[in-house]
């Protein structure tokens, strides 16, 4: 039997993925371990190897469309296996496969591979798609009892399998079919507190507000969808509140200059280069990690049953990349030196831009830092990235007039805003954390210890 090539699950909560690029085409001979295609998950790109050697056939996984995890995207036929083209010939397939072992080499009499597992050709459930017809015995029985055709039920299970929940939903929808549809009017103001949560406008409602031809539609890629989903989830389930204060940067900038000047020179392929080049952001990461260790109650994650108190500070750093953003994590940033953090950050950021981060490099973490200072933003509030309980939004360092002991002086000042999950970090605790951060930024020698 030919080997099924499926869209694998490469990311923890991945439900669908997109093939960004095939490296082998229909009919190509592939060796086990050859790169078959590149898969774009929610946040990274990953190369998938051929699970077997042979000829690549029935490549149904199209590039740049969402494919459920586990869905077959192609088949690999071993050299001695007879290839049967899919769908167009399915209708002509005899009800009974050829008896005996020898299969004549005409494709007409050979069942396509998708017809083999669990689908009885006599039940008339084979259609053009190689996945239609998968249903659990329970789903089939429930559909039979409800007088539904299983072919009319859309499957939500692995590889499009119809499961109990799908039939139950179909039965419920059938029962509700005569009920009036909710009117698609402009929502009126909620009459009472018990009204359902407001729903965002539908696609049609949005498009109706613009003249046809006045826009271009760009379908969302997975990253955009993930960002949208996670942000709505974060903003609607986490009670955010915000604390802002100003940090003077002059001491930090001086120390940074001094440290960078002291960097030893290393030989690389591109000639000599300093062993590190610290950025302000590297020092912000370190300060945030040390502040969390100093105020350990704030180094937490909320779960309904318990407070998750972390023993290390794993600092996520928002990195803007084409088409979105991603938050790679500096693990144990509290224990790492500035030069280690700096070099690790450069590596993570460059791989983030080429979408080559592994899931474990951007999942989890105990806090995050988002810096828009390089764009001149003075101050902003960031959205918490669960499971974190805090995120620090960092503005630009700029010369400002500050009043000291009744006199106006010039200082380089950076405003930072801490967003906290109020379930996990209360106001005073957040203030304590931000105070510890400010002390480290303004007395940066503390970060060298």
């Amino acid at each position: 039997m030919p080997t099924e090539v499926i869209l694998p699950k490469v990311d923890m909560d991945m439900a669908t993925g997109q093939i960004s690029r095939w490296f082998a085409e229909e009919g190509a001979h592939v060796k086990k371990g050859d790169v078959l295609f590149e898969i774009e998950t929610d946040k990274a790109a990953m190369e998938i190897d051929a699970p077997a050697s042979g000829t690549l056939r029935n490549v149904t996984g199209k590039e740049r469309v969402d494919i459920p995890v586990g869905e077959p995207v192609a088949w690999i036929y071993a050299d001695d296996e007879v290839y049967a083209p899919i769908s167009p010939l399915v209708g002509e397939m005899p009800a009974k496969p050829t008896e005996g072992g020898a299969v004549p080499p005409t494709s007409h009499s050979v069942a396509p591979p998708s017809a083999l597992p669990g689908i009885s050709p006599t039940r008339g459930e084979i259609s053009q798609s190689p996945t239609v017809g998968r249903a659990t015995p329970l789903a089939r029985r429930l559909a039979r009892e409800a007088g539904l055709s299983i072919a009319d039920v859309k499957g939500s299970g692995p590889r499009g399998r119809v499961v109990r929940a799908d039939v139950e939903a179909a039965v419920a929808a059938k029962g509700a079919g005569t009920a009036p549809q909710p009117a698609a009017e402009i929502p009126v103001e909620a009459p009472s507190a018990s009204a359902p949560a407001p729903k965002p406008m539908s696609d049609d409602q949005v498009l109706k507000l613009f003249a046809e031809g006045s826009y271009e539609l760009v379908p969302h890629d997975n990253m955009r969808k993930t960002i949208a989903r996670r942000l709505v989830e974060a903003k609607s389930t986490i009670p955010h509140f915000y604390l802002t204060l100003d940090c003077e940067l002059d001491a930090l900038l001086a120390l940074r200059t001094q440290l960078n000047a002291a960097a030893p020179v290393r030989k690389t392929d591109k000639g000599e280069a300093p062993a590190y080049k610290l950025s302000v952001n590297d020092m912000v990461i370190k300060a945030m990690a040390m502040a969390l260790m100093a105020v350990p109650d704030a180094n937490a994650s909320w779960t309904d049953s318990a407070m998750v108190k972390h023993k290390h500070a794993d600092v996520g750093v928002a990195v803007s990349i084409p088409g979105g953003l991603i938050t790679p994590i500096i693990r144990h940033a509290d224990e790492k030196t500035l030069s280690v953090i700096s070099n690790e950050m450069k590596d993570l950021a460059s791989r983030a831009r080429s979408r080559k981060l592994k899931p474990e490099e951007y999942q989890g973490g105990t806090t995050a830092v988002s810096n828009l200072g390089m764009f001149g933003i003075k101050d902003f509030a960031a959205v918490i990235n669960p499971p974190h309980a805090t995120i620090l939004a960092v503005g630009a360092g700029e010369e400002r007039a500050v009043v000291k002991k009744g006199e106006i002086k010039i200082a380089t000042v950076m405003s930072v805003t801490l967003s906290t999950d109020h379930r996990a970090v209360d106001g005073a605790l957040g203030a304590e954390l931000l105070g510890a951060f400010k002390r480290l930024i303004e007395n940066p020698m503390g970060m060298l210890l």
């Binding site: 699950k9 995890v69 586990g70 659990t136 015995p137 329970l138 789903a139 089939r140 029985r141 939500s156 299970g157 692995p158 499961v163 109990r164 049953s305």
Partner: protein
């Protein structure tokens, strides 16, 4: 101590059962290699030789075929022997007596004799005893009509099922996982029996049935406890007996949960999980399945000596958690 909460180890429970059996019936005696003065390779017989003497706690020569033959012969002629194979792996050497003699005599002699022999088999991996002393061979004997094959998973059942085995008119093979010997649990005092051929629901649940045997029962319960935190409600069926199999208990549970995961330590292929899967597929429970049946069994390899590899060879709690989660969440 309050009898209701008295705890014994699995090994102590078996020893107590053997002592009670010998107290109650003078036909009962023990045989095996090193079970006398040495107390048994796993100290299950312990000091029984001091309490019952060398006539009733008999050290045999290192010949499993000879020992098993004597036990079968004694059973046929009216005694109630309990024979210990030092390691279940050595069943290979006693196979003739078990399979061709003990299992067949009642049938071949028109029911005129019975063979009330009990054979005990310390089984399973996890002790660093390598390929020839770590196997789980219960399915071999489970394939033979005429035998009864049990795998008690708790100290309570070890005692109760051994006493049921001694009272049984037919040959009963007991597979005792070596890692269970130290497991402690409630064991009532005195004589009681746990029926052979009856499975036990160790934990009730809605979302998934795990059918487990022997040490995998506890591992399944540990996995279920973790998954409870994720809102996954697991039913754990302790098979307890693999011949005769309690088919109805499995069918009823699967009809309730619609999903089945079989977990056993023996090599996956042709193991008890294959039988349980097939019996569900053949039964009325088929129309209740909402996911493929999944088996977790031992790897297709002799048990390695290296401790890490040994552990990796058989299902562990994280494997069960992952498989159960995938089944319930519809990943498989």
């Amino acid at each position: 101590m309050d009898a209701a909460v008295r705890e014994l180890s699995y090994a102590q429970a078996i020893q107590e059962a053997m002592a009670i059996a010998m107290d109650m019936d003078e036909r009962v005696f023990l045989m095996g290699e090193d079970i006398g003065v040495y107390g048994g390779a796993f100290q299950v017989t312990g000091d029984l030789v001091e309490r019952y003497g060398t006539d009733r706690v008999i050290d045999t020569p290192i010949s499993e075929l000879g020992g098993a033959g004597v036990a079968v012969g004694a059973a046929v002629t009216g005694m109630r022997p309990i024979f210990e194979f030092q390691f279940s792996d050595f069943a290979t050497l006693g196979m003739e007596q078990i399979v061709n003699q003990a299992a067949k005599m009642r049938f071949m002699l028109g029911g005129e004799v019975s063979v009330p022999v009990v054979m005990r088999f310390p089984a399973g991996s996890g002790t660093g005893a390598a390929a020839q002393h770590s196997q789980s061979l219960e399915a071999w004997l489970g394939h033979v009509p005429g035998l009864k094959v049990i795998q008690p998973a708790t100290p309570h059942d070890a005692k109760g099922m051994l006493l049921a085995a001694v009272a049984d008119p037919d040959p009963v093979m007991i597979f005792e996982h070596k890692l269970l010997y130290k497991m402690k649990g409630h064991v009532p005092e005195g004589h009681y029996t746990v029926p052979i051929g009856k499975a036990e629901i160790r934990r009730e649940g809605r979302d998934l049935t795990i059918v487990a045997t022997s040490i995998m029962v506890q591992k399944a319960l540990d996995a279920a406890a973790v998954l409870e935190g994720e809102g996954i409600d697991i039913e754990v069926v302790d098979l307890r007996t693999i011949r005769p199999l309690d088919r109805q208990a499995v069918i009823d549970s699967v009809k309730k949960t619609s999903r089945l995961l079989c977990v056993y330590e023996a090599v996956k292929t042709l193991g008890i999980g294959a039988e349980v899967s097939a019996l569900v597929a053949e039964s009325e429970a088929f129309d209740y399945l909402d996911a493929p049946i999944v088996r977790l069994g031992g790897a297709e390899t002799p048990i390695p000596y290296n401790p890490d590899l040994e552990k990796a060879t058989v299902p562990q709690v994280p494997d069960i958690i992952a498989a159960a989660r995938d089944l319930v969440k519809g990943v498989r």
